[in-house]
Amino acid sequence: MNLLNTWFGNWRSSVVGWLPAIATTIALVVLWEVLVEVLDVQRWLLPAPSVILTELSDSFGLLTRHAGITLIEIVIGFAVSVSLGVTIASGIVWSRTVERSIYPIIIASQTIPVITLAPLLIIWVGTDIMSKVIVIVLFTFFPITISLVSGLRYVDHEMVDMLRTLGASSWQTFIKLMIPSALPSFFAGLKVAAVVSVIGAVIGEWFGASSGLGFLMKIAGPQFQTARVFAAIVVLSILAIGLFAAVVAIEKWVLRKYPPTANQVVRLGES
């Protein structure tokens, strides 16, 4: 199958395959450094990568400590979002009435700026981890829900009929056919959510927190510690990439068990 590459290449080729990516990243960082130098951009506006790197190593302990707290919020928020998204999506797919009743509400929920919600949140749930979890959930359940609905909806109706002839109840059809065939879409939603959860946590921490990377950025900003803000962004990016990679790893593992068709990926550019 030369047209297709198997999901799991061997390790050797994997490492070689990453070289261009690493090269690109390094090139971009160097370009940034040079541009900051050449255009004489002040470091309090946009610090050069070297400055950020120095800050990263200087504040390593501080950053990792706060990153740990942010990560805990994200994990909890993400778990809540997945449960919520699966529940809502199931309801939407299950009945048109549920769909019509719930869609306007969940869409409206996405248009509320957190800054408006903040007073209510702080007054009703306080400024502990709960309020951050709520903000993360607000940011992440929507892509999970929409993607899952799409996946559940475009199921092969001939398969549905087949299962019915075997005596499947609606519930069995849902569990044994619709869920497995919605997995690729579901994971697309999870990938978006994984990344967005990071910014959700930052924003949650912006409004009332005493720790976490968002808090760190909030207090570093007015003190014009731009390098620290960017160092926090670097840590956040690593966090986001890590979460994304984790979702991709789980996706690979699950989709090896539940392949949508053959267990292969089409790569047009590599024949």
Binding site: P119, I122, T127, G208, S210, P222
Partner: protein, 304 residues
């Protein structure tokens, strides 16, 4: 000063309010024009980016806060103050009258809401210590930007980081009586809440322009001083789209007027000792490095 007027951009520290009455008077009465300056006053796109805009030359002048200026200089941002506007702290601690809190000592065991910025926390610490308590005697709650609401809702007993010329009035208009604790009454050095800021480069390269600008600027505040309510009329007239809350600003300007020339200092003045005392206090609170030289942070030569 002859020939084409010079285009000047001034960025405000916040949306148009009573604090800006003087600069709009200067615009309205043509004081800037008289100096050959074509000034446009704009509200900030992002308040936290204002000093960056000044340093990068995007904006020529800005109105901003003295402690923040020192913090910016601590990080090497080349900005300087060229005139004082509000000559006392506006930032204060506030509690509902019903709470019975009238001095820092009353806060023992109470919940204090802060916006979560180190600056406010340092201020609170000093105020507590001035009245015989320590930071650990109160519970600090970071409530972000929801100070008023939290206070009104009773989630916290007191808040720090609110303006006694703005939030106080807002709360009163909402029917809440409050007690205000001023930081400079409780150990915090009296500082300039609002100053006129420009960049070191502007001061160096265009001193005459700065001179002319500050002159007209101070004249504007002088005019507002003479007719406070008239200056609010001007403010509203020049900013029809700004949704100015008249009820708050009319009351606010009366509180502000005495602050524009407090301590017997004329409008626009900048006094060196006050920079030093604030600088020393900020250093003691580890808000800035000891290497920061407060006297470099302002240039009072333009106001004369």
């Amino acid at each position: 000063g002859s020939g084409d007027p010079e285009d000047i951009v001034v960025t405000l520290d916040w949306f148009q309010n009573a604090n800006h009455a003087g600069i709009y008077e200067a615009v309205d009465k043509g004081y800037f024009e008289d100096e050959g300056l074509n000034v446009s006053v704009v509200p900030p796109a992002d308040p936290s980016a204002i000093l960056s805009l000044i340093a990068s030359g995007e904006s020529d002048f800005a109105m901003y806060y003295q402690p923040d200026l020192l913090q910016a200089r601590n990080e090497g941002i080349p900005v300087v103050a060229v005139a004082g506007v509000v000559q006392r702290p506006l930032n204060s601690m506030m509690a509902l009258k019903s709470s019975g809190i009238t001095r820092p000592a009353d806060l023992a065991g109470k919940k204090v809401g802060t916006p979560g910025l180190p600056w406010n926390e340092a201020m609170l610490t000093t105020m507590l210590e001035a009245d015989g308590l320590s930071r650990d005697d109160v519970e600090l709650v970071d409530i972000g930007w929801t100070l008023n609401q939290s206070l009104m809702a009773g989630t916290v007993d007191a808040v720090i980081g609110v303006y006694w010329t703005h939030e106080l009035i807002v709360l009163e208009n909402e029917g809440y009586e409050t007690n205000v604790l001023l930081p400079d009454d409780w150990g915090v050095p009296s500082y300039y809440e609002l100053i006129l800021v420009t960049s070191e480069k502007t001061v160096k390269d265009r001193p005459e322009m700065v001179e002319k600008f500050v002159k007209a600027f101070n004249k504007g505040y002088g005019q507002a001083l003479d007719d406070p309510q008239g200056s609010i009329d001007t403010l509203i007239r020049l900013n029809p789209d700004a949704e100015i809350d008249e009820a708050v600003d009319r009351a606010g300007v009366d509180l502000l007027v005495p602050l524009w020339e407090s301590n017997g200092q004329p409008v626009g003045s900048l006094v060196g000792e006050r920079w030093d005392s604030l600088g020393d206090w900020m250093k003691a609170q580890s808000l800035i490095d000891t290497s920061v030289v407060p006297s470099d942070a302002f240039d009072s030569s333009f106001g004369d």
